[in-house]
Subunit: 196 residues, 2 copies
Amino acid sequence: MTRNEIQDVRMRRYFIDAAKELIKGEGVVVVSTRNVAERSGYSYATIYNYFKDVRDLIFACVEDFQQECKEYIESQVKGIKGAKKNISSITNSYIKFFCMYPGIFELFFLEKPKVISTRKSSIESIYTFFDDMLDESWQSFASEKKISPLRLETIKQAYKLAVHGELLFFINRRNNETLESVTKRIDGILNYFIKR
Amino acid sequence: MTRNEIQDVRMRRYFIDAAKELIKGEGVVVVSTRNVAERSGYSYATIYNYFKDVRDLIFACVEDFQQECKEYIESQVKGIKGAKKNISSITNSYIKFFCMYPGIFELFFLEKPKVISTRKSSIESIYTFFDDMLDESWQSFASEKKISPLRLETIKQAYKLAVHGELLFFINRRNNETLESVTKRIDGILNYFIKR
DNA sequence: TAATATTATTAATATTGTTAATTTATGAGA
DNA sequence: TCTCATAAATTAACAATATTAATAATATTA
């Protein structure tokens, strides 16, 4: 990295961090050039020297948030033994993370990529993230229980879809549900898949 | 209805129809007072004589779209016999409807409630709509196969969540998936739940 | 140090929601 | 039919937003 690149990264970081705070706090809707600029101590027009547009800035937060989510899950799951317990624990942490920061869920799954301006990869990885987190556990579960690859695939997909359906319903409108009732239902579904 | 009320309903209809066209065509994002007004031949400010604000107008479209969706499904499912076939067919039509009009899915499930409206009732019915459409078929399936109510409940919920998870993934970013691959996967999941 | 290139800011344009002010249409009573 | 009060519709205006153009400030380099 040349000196200019270092400065470039640093400037982008100022704006990204400001945008991240806003997303965590009040959601994507409050991320405006003016808000981000104020929070980072620069003029709103300066942002356009470092990002194509405001959506480019918003999506630049994705990778950071993914890392945060990953670390949160790993901190919660550490030391847990057994495939089923791991799947359950990882899922619970995953759900909990997005319930803590609904703005991040919004960014990951509700926001339209629109002009998927810059890096497509980080957007796509949103959809494999959950699979990646669970892959090892599902593998060991399948070999433990002698589940065929085809059946495992169905279970994995159905489970993943159910978890995200649940999050979609829960986060967008809170229908008297609590985090507990949500995780309980998902655990019930996991049990259904696993015990049989 | 008095004459005034009739006129009132008619005026609201002009705006609602214009907004519906926009949502069907390009999504909620293009529903602005100016766009709706232009399409309906009135001034943008006139809308405020008939709707509290844009959210109120957008909300008014929800009920219409629900009815359209219901009628579409019923037209597709007419004459189909057997619980399993009915569940599958209703689900396929449901998915197909939202794939035809991703803007409606967006309005129903992605848009934040505050954007849609302050009123609750019709929003909540979005979440029971799928259940309502399938309830009868699930009941007859359960009695055919002697499934316990508790187990039926788990299956119903898991299935519903998976369907909406699938729609969430499919509609928001198109990951090389087609309507066929989506319905096939959901059918596979349904089979998993039903065959045993 | 002076010229040049880079970076940041201010000004300006366009779009949006919403309300206020104003104009236009309507309908009841003389 | 005419008048005028009321309702309805429109234009004007304001505030917030994204974005770009023009300008000012700063840093680099010969």
